[in-house]
């Protein structure tokens, strides 16, 4: 049993943050909210999302599991006017999701969850450095780096106490330093890793400019990116594996 009413905006931002990595996903409909966990086909990026029941206008669920085609569901949610509400109801018999938006009724065929790529286990990583900054700073860094290269180095300078972004292209370079005054918070630790810009660009699309974003970093280790949405009632954690630096 699953029945919920949610603002289109909240639903869209939740779906967007997952759809940057995968086309289809499994949604766990728990009693206290829903969760999505997915890893992209290359096993390089991973997303873990939870949306509390409190983020919904109304929410009832008893622990079901559904598989959805994300682009379909996003399109439907896009039909709502800004501030509009979306009503979702699961038909257990036919395995279809009934969606109502301002009198518009849409029946979405669900995907067999078994046919969707297996959900990843969240690795337990101990990342030494942590940086808290605004979403727009990430946006700026990624945009600048994208002009010169297809990968980006993120790191923390322990001596000078700043967070830096480096991108080296064939001819041009980009370098950005953010000191403690520009950052919301900085925990020092040895950190320098290279990441694929393609993935960071996609993830950046989903990160709201005003959100407070936490980056956890290590030396040649995956990065964890946390941020909240829907007034803190939804949480997203991205993980991205580092590029191998040798050669």
């Amino acid at each position: 049993m699953f029945k919920a009413i949610v603002s289109a905006e909240t639903l869209s931002s939740a779906l967007d943050s997952v759809s940057v990595l995968v086309d289809e996903c499994k949604i766990h409909l728990e009693e206290d909210g829903f969760t999505i966990r997915a890893v992209d086909p290359a096993n390089v990026g991973m997303v873990d999302l939870s949306l509390d029941a409190a983020a919904f206008e109304s929410y009832e669920a008893d622990g079901g599991l559904i598989g959805v085609d994300l682009s379909r569901l996003e399109d439907i949610a896009g039909m709502a006017e800004s501030g509009g509400l979306v009503q979702l109801e699961l038909d257990e018999e036919t395995r279809k999701l009934h969606i109502q938006i301002d009198g518009l009724e849409y029946t979405l065929a669900l995907i067999d969850p078994d046919s969707i790529r297996q959900e990843p286990d969240i690795p337990d990583l101990d990342l030494p450095a942590s940086v808290v900054l605004e979403g727009k700073d990430i946006n700026r860094s990624v945009k600048a780096a994208d002009m010169v290269s297809d990968h980006i180095a993120l790191g923390v300078d322990e001596g000078e106490e700043f967070f830096y972004v480096d991108a080296e292209g064939d001819t041009d370079d980009v370098h950005l330093e953010l000191t403690t005054t520009e950052l919301i918070d900085l925990q020092l630790g040895p950190a320098h890793s290279l990441f694929s810009l393609d993935y960071l660009k996609d993830m950046n699309k989903a990160i709201p400019a005003a959100a407070e974003v936490t980056l956890e970093l290590g030396e040649e280790f995956p990065i964890k990116i946390h941020y909240g949405f829907a007034e803190g009632q939804g949480q997203v954690t991205y993980m991205l594996a580092p590029r191998i630096q040798s050669d």
């Binding site: 096993n43 280790f221 995956p222 594996a241 580092p242």
Partner: protein, 518 residues
């Protein structure tokens, strides 16, 4: 019931059956990967355990797997994004130091638009990879040379019956199926080296009975394509007409191809009268194939097949024995070898056809042989020169027609003379054009500047004074020198009346046409 091939898929390399050498090579490759950093190509027939071995290897090494197989969309950008990224990044659990294994299944099969550019992208991924990559393929040589050279090669051979039977026995024990040893052997026999098929067959048969016996297995035999060599053996050695026809249904060749195979190999078995009979049937088959081509009526194939299978089998007068080395048809090879010759012949024929107003086929079939006979070894030098001039032949083409060497002095001088002749004729023709058109004061030798424009200029200079007859006559006269149109194109009728009219013109300009010699 779950698929047994999945249930009993090996989880570690040591459980991979039947290819111990390849298995060890694969493990060795993985252990040395840090040093050589090359990708590996694992190739072999379907169902021998290539993909299983790759996955088992990853499990043994503790490497996470990224797999891209043929059911995925494999356009270049997808491969780049998925396999390319995976082969260059660390893992989510261990970061940059963590290895992952990238498995590209069916790396030899990139088909159509869905995989556009895929094969090239694979090569790039392999070259740029910083993680171990395994390419799994059936046909080693379907992959590009660059790709093959960039990788270590590990071949998986067909699994022998000796290795298949224990696997089946083990599965039966674990599934609690009772069996006759002979039944398992029969399954292993019928799948000829394909372990996966053997397991599938076992499951299919086991689902229907409580106890496996040989009889159960026989009913469960799968369709197989018969190899062309086995078929030739059957057809030519001892099959009856009916058997030969029926066996041909399992052969994966069209009648056109099959005809070439049979035609080339039948003399290796048949001799004398029976061989003549067999060729009679083959020629019948060939005629039916001709009808298929002409009418596009493919139902006629059946008559071609009947003739070339049943007909050939029926022609045999006594059974043959022993072993014969059959060879592939020489037809295509011969076509390939003679390509340049045929191209030259066609280019000459094209020019002759243009000049004579005949079809290419007619020029090739009816004119070229005569030209060739008349100018054999340039014996009739004068004629040869004029022919070369008429069709604008160069040394190699002249050599093709006359049979003389292309770089001999003889041919060289003929080509030179022909060039002179062309120039001379152009001059004369220009002059005649004016003369014949009825110009009151013609300059018989013509004028260098007028030469090339001959006919057109003639008509213009005529200024309406020219009668239709005069123009025609003029054209005929001019053409007679330039080409051999009339006599060659139209055959005998002209040969008789031509000399008269032609020589009339000839006297004018002292130049005879080729037609005079027919």
């Amino acid at each position: 019931m779950a698929d047994w091939t999945e249930t009993y898929r090996p989880t570690t390399l040591s459980a991979v059956r039947g290819n111990d050498k390849a298995r060890d090579a694969l493990r060795n490759w993985a252990e040395r990967w840090e040093d050589h950093r090359k990708a590996a190509i694992v190739h072999g027939s379907p169902g021998v355990g290539k993909t299983s071995a790759a996955h088992a290897l990853a499990a043994d090494m503790g490497w996470p797997v990224m797999e891209l197989n043929a059911s995925d969309d494999r356009q270049a950008d997808v491969i780049k994004r998925v396999a390319g990224e995976a082969s260059k990044t660390g893992t989510l659990t261990a970061g940059g130091s963590g290895r992952r294994l990238v498995i590209l299944d069916e790396a030899d099969n990139f088909h159509g638009n869905a995989d556009y550019g895929g094969a090239r992208e694979v090569t790039r991924v392999v070259k740029e990879a910083t993680q171990p990559v395994v390419l799994v393929a059936n046909e080693f040589y379907d992959m590009s040379n660059t790709l093959r050279n960039a990788c270590e090669t590990i071949e998986f051979r067909d699994v022998s019956k000796r290795s298949i039977v224990p696997v089946l026995r083990d599965i039966c024990r674990r599934e609690g199926v009772e069996y006759d040893e002979a039944a398992l052997e029969a399954i292993a026999d019928s799948t000829s080296g394909d372990l996966r098929s053997a397991v599938n067959d076992l499951q299919a048969v086991a689902e229907e009975t409580d106890r496996l016996t040989v009889e159960d297995v026989v009913t469960g035999e799968r369709d197989r394509t018969e190899g062309i060599f086995e078929y030739l053996d059957t057809l030519l050695k001892n099959a009856s007409a009916e058997e030969a026809l029926k066996a041909s249904y399992d052969v994966d060749e069209t009648p056109d191809e099959l005809l070439n195979w049979v035609e080339d190999n039948v003399p290796k078995e048949y001799a004398g009268g029976e061989l003549a009979d067999a060729y009679e049937f083959l020629s019948q088959a060939d005629r039916w194939l001709g009808r298929v081509r002409a009418t596009q009526e493919y139902t006629y194939w059946r008559y071609a097949s009947d003739n070339l299978t049943a007909g050939v089998a029926a022609s045999r007068r006594e059974p043959k024995g022993g072993w014969t080395r059959y060879g592939p048809p020489s037809y295509w090879r011969k076509l390939g070898q003679t390509r340049s010759t045929r191209d030259r012949r066609d280019s000459i024929a094209r020019r002759v056809a243009d000049a004579e107003g005949t079809s290419l086929a007619t020029a090739r079939r009816e004119l070229l042989p005569y030209l060739s006979a008349m100018t054999h070894h340039c014996r009739n030098r004068d004629l040869t020169v004029r022919m070369a001039a008429a069709y604008g032949l160069d040394a190699s083409e002249l050599s093709f027609i006359t049979g003389s060497g292309a770089d001999t002095n003889k041919v060289g001088s003929i080509v030179e003379d022909a060039a002179d002749l062309v120039a001379e004729q152009a001059v004369e023709k220009g002059g005649n054009a004016f003369f014949d058109a009825g110009d009151p004061s013609p300059d018989d030798t013509g004028d260098g500047s007028e030469t090339a424009e001959s006919d057109e200029t003639a008509a213009e200079s005529g200024d309406g004074q020219v009668t239709l007859g005069a123009t025609l006559e003029d054209a005929a006269g001019a053409d007679g020198e330039d080409t051999v149109t009339d006599s060659e194109g139209d055959g005998s009728a002209n040969q008789t009346d031509d000399p008269g009219s032609a020589s009339a013109h000839d006297e004018d300009d002292g130049q005879s046409g080729l037609s005079d010699f027919f």
